[in-house]
């Protein structure tokens, strides 16, 4: 059913031999990472394996020492930014900053300008439909800084989808979410991906959680040490031995 990335049409994300050294320590040591259009690809690896650094390279926030990053075939990452939605691991929000969810979402709209975000009809409709898609309508008037981990992640997804991106990058999106909430969250992402025909890169420390939705998995530990279909990666002896990623057979029954 799934083919390996080379055979699946145009590449949305491609890195060639990417190397990054930070503070004298090699973080990425020749990473080749490819994501074909329309796929949901998981990037897994333990803490400190370079996942976040790789993501920062893709976003143009980290300059690689050598190697190449291409997004939509473009080598200038900044050109590609308007086509990207990004969901960070966490926010730096202070509780005293009471930006409401509605105001936050309006920040992403092109024609939100000044007048202190006074409701703008087209904007308001777009915002309403985006929160309806993700199921967070009831949160619109709550301050962003007062949401629970799960609510916040959903709002961030709604935010990242507002400008109809083609590529969605999620950095450990369930870091502040409890385990049952985590699974429904990944189901939501898979659902959105299917409906909008998105290309998705999902960074996670835990393969068992993304097992059900990913069509291809890259396991990173400084280099791509293993890649393939989730079943393949999950059973790879080399992976377990190399760095003991949590690969419980938790979701096997879903697939048989």
């Amino acid at each position: 059913m799934h083919l390996c990335p080379e055979h699946q049409g145009p590449l949305v994300v491609e890195t060639r031999n990417l190397r990054v050294t930070l503070g004298g320590r090699s973080i990425l040591d020749g990473v080749n990472f490819r994501v074909p259009k329309g796929q949901l690809v998981a990037l897994i690896g333990p803490n400190g394996s370079g996942k976040t650094t790789l993501l920062r390279c893709l976003l143009g926030l980290q300059k690689p020492d050598s190697g190449e990053v291409r997004l939509f075939g473009e080598s200038d990452v900044r050109e590609a930014l308007p086509r990207i939605g990004y969901v960070p691991q966490r926010l730096d929000l202070e509780r005293s900053f009471i930006l409401s969810v509605r105001e936050f979402l309006a920040l992403r709209m092109e024609n939100t300008r000044h007048w202190f975000w006074q409701a703008h009809k087209t904007n308001d409709q777009l915002i309403r439909s985006s929160v309806a898609e993700i199921g967070v309508e009831e949160l619109l008037d709550r301050p962003l800084a007062h949401l629970s981990g799960g609510q916040l992640q959903r709002v961030l997804i709604a935010f990242s989808l507002l400008r109809n991106p083609e590529l969605l990058l999620l950095d450990e999106p369930t870091a502040g979410v409890d385990t049952p909430g985590e699974q429904t969250f990944y189901d939501l992402i898979a659902d959105v991906q299917q409906r909008r025909k998105l290309t998705v890169v999902l960074v996670s420390h835990d393969l068992s959680m993304v097992f059900r939705q990913a069509s291809w998995v890259y396991a990173l530990n400084g280099v791509i040490c293993c890649e393939g279909h989730p079943e393949h990666v999950m059973n790879a002896e080399s992976l377990k031995q190399a760095y003991g990623i949590h690969v419980s057979p938790y979701h096997h029954h879903h697939h048989h």
Binding site: P88, D92, S96, R102
Partner: protein, 273 residues
């Protein structure tokens, strides 16, 4: 009170600086930069001392220059060393207070001279200070108004702002400069020790009364304006330093806001029929 030229200047300065500090304060508190502002203001003491040493009757220029220098030093050390930002700031703050006090003592200045800079003085507001305050007020007011979306996004999360096309580094740099200049000019009104309170208290007061950022910004502006003007007028009427009087006015408003908030929570909204 309103016929004396020095009082007119002081009230004008308060009219500009109150809302200006309160507006910046919304973002300063949200970005945990209150200590940054405190460090810059204390750093100004060395600037004041150097000004006196050079025989300047009015040390506004060295005060502003030295504040900018301290801000630059914080940013530079943060990027070049492994030191925690708090440590860097505590270091620079105590260093410049120490140097400033040593110079002032060697110059045998009267304690009253130092007092005026530590706690603010309405008599110290000259035409230059009023013009500086007005210029900053216009520049920052327009700037924040135009860049409100970008500034809010950076406050939420810098990487996300970058993906949304916000020039994060440039805007952060501008914010630091604007904050530094505002603090430096406001020192004449509130004093080195108290200047940060006009940045911190109005947004905190507004916060307990508002449900979104729009309300918080507007209320904070109003509270900054009222606090600065009322404090300045009371300082004249009671013949006490202007900085402490503005702070006390703002704190009274803060306590009232806490009361209003508690009252709102205790009395549920009437159900709609």
């Amino acid at each position: 009170m309103f016929t004396e030229p020095f009082m007119q200047r002081a009230l004008l300065a308060a009219l500009f600086l109150g809302p200006l500090c309160a507006l910046l304060g919304v973002f300063v508190t949200a970005r945990r930069m209150a200590f940054f502002s405190d460090t810059i203001s204390h750093g100004a003491l060395t600037g004041v001392a150097l000004g006196f040493w050079l025989g300047m009757p009015d040390p506004t220029a060295p005060l502003i220059l030295f504040s900018l220098l301290i801000a630059g030093a914080i940013v530079w050390l943060r990027e070049r060393t492994d030191l925690v930002t708090d440590t860097i700031m505590a270091l620079l703050l105590s260093w410049s207070v120490a140097i400033g006090m040593i110079i002032l003592s060697l110059l045998r200045r009267r304690p009253g001279d130092i007092h005026r800079f530590l706690f603010g003085d309405i008599l110290a507001i000259g035409p230059l200070e009023v013009w500086l305050a007005a210029g900053l007020f216009v520049f920052v007011g327009v700037g924040v108004f135009l860049k409100l979306n970008d500034l809010s996004l950076i406050t939420v999360q810098e990487e996300m702002a970058h993906v949304c096309g916000v020039p994060v580094r440039k805007l952060n740099f501008l914010f630091v400069i604007v904050l530094t200049l505002t603090v430096a000019v406001t020192i004449r009104l509130l004093g080195i020790i108290l200047v940060t309170s006009l940045i911190v208290i109005p947004p905190a007061t507004a916060r307990s009364l508002s449900g979104n950022l729009r309300q918080q910004i507007l209320l904070s502006l109003g509270i900054g304006l009222f606090g600065a003007l009322t404090g300045t007028a009371l300082s004249y009427a009671l013949n006490v330093p202007c900085g402490p009087m503005i702070v006390v006015t703002c704190i009274v408003l803060f306590v009232v806001s806490l009361g209003v908030r508690a009252l709102k929570r205790a009395v549920p909204k009437p159900a709609l029929a």
